[in-house]
Symmetry: D2
Subunit: 309 residues, 4 copies
């Protein structure tokens, strides 16, 4: 099933589970997949920044993608294929599409500055992977240091028919969603799916601004799925109530540099992965930080019964 502009719901960004010695933990891939499906994931995104993709060998990357594709059955799997060279981007894209991926995600390299550089980069990338693979534009200025205006995103969308989705991760970013939806309303941009990132820190309002769902790695994906569903059902207050209950932990998890360590720790405590290790170079939590997360988990469990460990 190919990714389409009508995609919506929850696409968790999957971390890659490792053993403490750095080896890939394949068994945890299965528990993770099971956890995501139970949590209500519509699809999933693998090999993103949070997936420690640049640290993987090419064959490991393909193995991980394949495992998720099998595990997710007919639900779409998006594969991050960002790479310094187009040769690697093309070979990974083709490898995973042949194995059943639904689309690929492409981030702009950090040195791009001007509007034309960004638009030109996507033109070259799509020329490299071919015009038939649905792709996601990743807009993540805080980490990638590339700033795309709504008009630049529109140019990429209108230039490339295979562009079907925006992973929206600008910060602040609420006005960007409104502007893009206004482009669609006035007919200057064809419709695309917008899924939001940033750890979910503004998911409550992003849905109200017109997002179609979430694509992020918060360690309680069931909350993301429920907030998306509540907002789509028009239950605004209930969506905010649920979101607010998780916000103290979510905020703690959404720290640059430390976030992945927190996320893996919570996923480990939840039993979704066996070990919270990162492949090197990585970070780990101090005892003080773990105790803080434990405290937040205890408090969360009192507010959201589904979050009890």
């Amino acid at each position: 099933m190919r990714l389409s502009p009508s995609a919506a719901g929850l696409y968790p960004i999957a971390p890659t589970p490792f053993f403490p010695d750095g080896r890939l933990d394949e068994a945890s891939l299965d528990t993770l997949i099971e956890g995501y499906l139970k949590a209500g994931a519509t699809g999933v995104t693998v090999l993103g920044i949070m997936g420690e993709a640049p640290k993987l060998e090419p064959e490991e990357a393909i193995l991980i993608a394949q495992r998720f594709i099998e595990g997710f059955g007919d639900r779409p799997v998006i594969v991050g294929v960002s790479a310094p060279g187009f040769a690697a981007m093309r070979s990974l894209s083709h490898a995973v599409m042949e194995r059943g991926a639904s689309g690929v995600m492409i981030a702009p390299p950090p040195h791009l500055r001007t509007d034309d550089q960004i638009v030109g980069y996507y033109a070259q990338a799509i020329e490299a992977i071919g015009p038939d693979i649905p792709f996601v534009i990743q807009d993540y200025p805080l980490t990638l240091s590339v700033q795309m205006t709504p008009a630049v995103i529109r140019r990429i969308v209108m230039d490339n028919p295979s562009s079907v989705m925006l992973k929206h991760e600008d910060w602040p970013g609420l006005e960007k969603i409104s502007t893009l939806r206004a482009f669609q309303a006035e007919g200057s941009m064809r419709p695309i799916s917008i899924l939001t990132g940033n750890g979910g820190l503004f998911l409550d309002f992003e849905m109200e601004r017109g997002a179609d769902g979430a694509m992020t790695g918060y360690a309680f994906p069931e909350m993301l799925a429920r907030v998306v569903a509540l907002q789509r059902a028009g239950s605004r207050d209930a969506a905010h109530d649920l979101f607010d209950a998780h916000l103290p932990l979510l905020r703690y998890e959404q720290q640059q540099g430390v976030g992945l360590a927190v996320r893996k720790y919570v996923l480990m405590r939840r039993g979704l992965i066996a070990c919270d290790a990162q492949r090197r170079p990585g970070t780990s939590l101090t005892a003080a930080a773990r105790a803080e997360v434990d405290y937040l988990l205890t408090r969360l469990a009192m507010k959201d019964p589904l979050a009890r460990l």
Copy 2:
């Protein structure tokens, strides 16, 4: 009263109130001061980044500082004196100290990279303003793009006896507080006051890691004062309960680039300033954003009666 390493509590970062045409709104300085005192401010910091200091004429800067010094009586007023040249830094420092300021705050210029550059910059700055003026080190990598390790902060503290306080605004930054307090415990750094920024986003845990209080501009300073007081009194759960009630709004306010507009809007709605305008170049809120803040205010009022407008 000179600022000392034992300073603690709440030092709000004051915005500068303007009229829509860009003129300084002096009357609002008085309502703002009154509001801070009522909220439980121990002191105040003026002419910081949030105070739009670089847009002020030199005589305006002095006027604002003087007004706060008068209004705060015997409570300490810290004045931001960061400037591209040491001549301007010295003249402003001397002008405000003569008028009764308690100390000055110095941010490193954005081009500094290496440890030695940072330490050397502070040495030159203190040589410029003189060794008798108590000063605050401002550590704010997200905006200033200067990264100070705990060891660099220790070098600045140990090299400069007039260094009495750290405005801690690293992100993530909890471990930095722990490390600095460990330096003090082992005797390798003399004690300094640590007040935390970042809009208060981690104030709940920062107090537990050893912070002495808050120095930030969240538009409900009474919450900051109460969380600081509760944590100092050992009432951990109560501190977190109060903090969590405010977190949805606080998170909304703590957005780069937009934050000051949100903050001024809330202060205006609370009656602490007459108008939420920024001097140009500035930003303003869309109608959608104002409605979102209004919604957050309504929800907050249900959880914290003191936050009712």
Copy 3:
């Protein structure tokens, strides 16, 4: 005399002479002006980055501008008015225009990233200073970290009738000149003057690409004036011969961070200023570096008799 799009020739960027204790050296302003006039300067630019403008008090800035305006008689003086706030930009612009300046130069602040941000900034700046003051767009990505495409420059030019000149300091930048001149040829951009910077490192070819002259601070401005004149007269080989003779020193001078120290040292050795000090924070040359510059001066004097000290 107002700056116009037909401006051409040499506009040296003037450094600001200081005494070792940091005081402004007014007498050296006069010897510097005399030197520039003798060297064949068509005009001059003061209070630029190389002029240590951010370290000056407002009244010093006006004094320096006035001195140059008087000294240059009917030749145009351009004044750098870049400032963090528009209030300061406006007041300095008006002060110097009233005193007889020919135009102002505006650099974009370092945080601008997208095309729209840059265009919008110039719109706001011109609104602030008024539409009647001829202004120069400063395009200097290496130092300012703002990248303007030719299309962005065209937008600024076409949006603002008072935009008359580009200080071209992109690196690499030869294609940018060709593209802008092609815009003019096809009628999509009205003609502007293009003067080039970067210490003159590509002046030889910049003239061939369509530049109108040089605006930079190389310490032998007579070489810049002669290369511009030779190229305008069609004497390509002679222009390159002269340029190549100076290139070893020019290359040495055009080092980020150190360049101003080299430049002031050579100007001091030439007798154009009394002292090579910079106001703090600044840099100075080691003995080894001074010896290297002396060696380069000796070698230069053998190739260009006019460069003998």
Copy 4:
């Protein structure tokens, strides 16, 4: 033969030759090797930034390294092994050392800021590749945006016995060489080899400050070899005369972003590679730029007979 701290002379940085369709041009590897040996190369460095290393497939990288190792016989080949993850760095390092490489070169990733981060990164990298592989520290702030002070380099050298060489590419960087040599003289740092980059733009003086040779890709490596030899023989004026003759072209080649295109074009014109294409994403020269390089080549041939095509 393992790389040692006594390495000296010329180690050209080799580009990777491609066909216009992006395929690796293996035959040109042989002509390039032959050209380097004829030019007087002491050794060679492959898979550096200029070698478009991030665009290569892992098997291509090994093939290129192997070809150079065979072609260079008993002269040392250094292989760039910088990678986002340590797994890839280790596997490439081991693969090339087994095939006869003399050492590896490691650049710091762009996000490193503080002294401790940089030192810690090298500690982790050496732990990953093992303590037995001689390695080169690559210090290239302009492109990598990581600034290493001399003291940081000393820490890396003293912490890691397998550190034998510095590829010095700071700009400006002359004082750095002097400081490092002073460290050695005072006994606080053990001796290392220092080879300099930056396209050779300061090679004339770098040798006088204590560099052991050049490691850069200027398209006339024989000039680099001769300047190094002349300076080592004490023929200062002759070294500068030769250097100055090449400086106009060298300066043109040493442009960020465009430099590789110029370099490949000159190497193609010299017959060292068959085609000046870059693998995508890459840049190419306009007709105007090619004509400028041709003009510079003509002028150079008049000054240096060995540079005749």
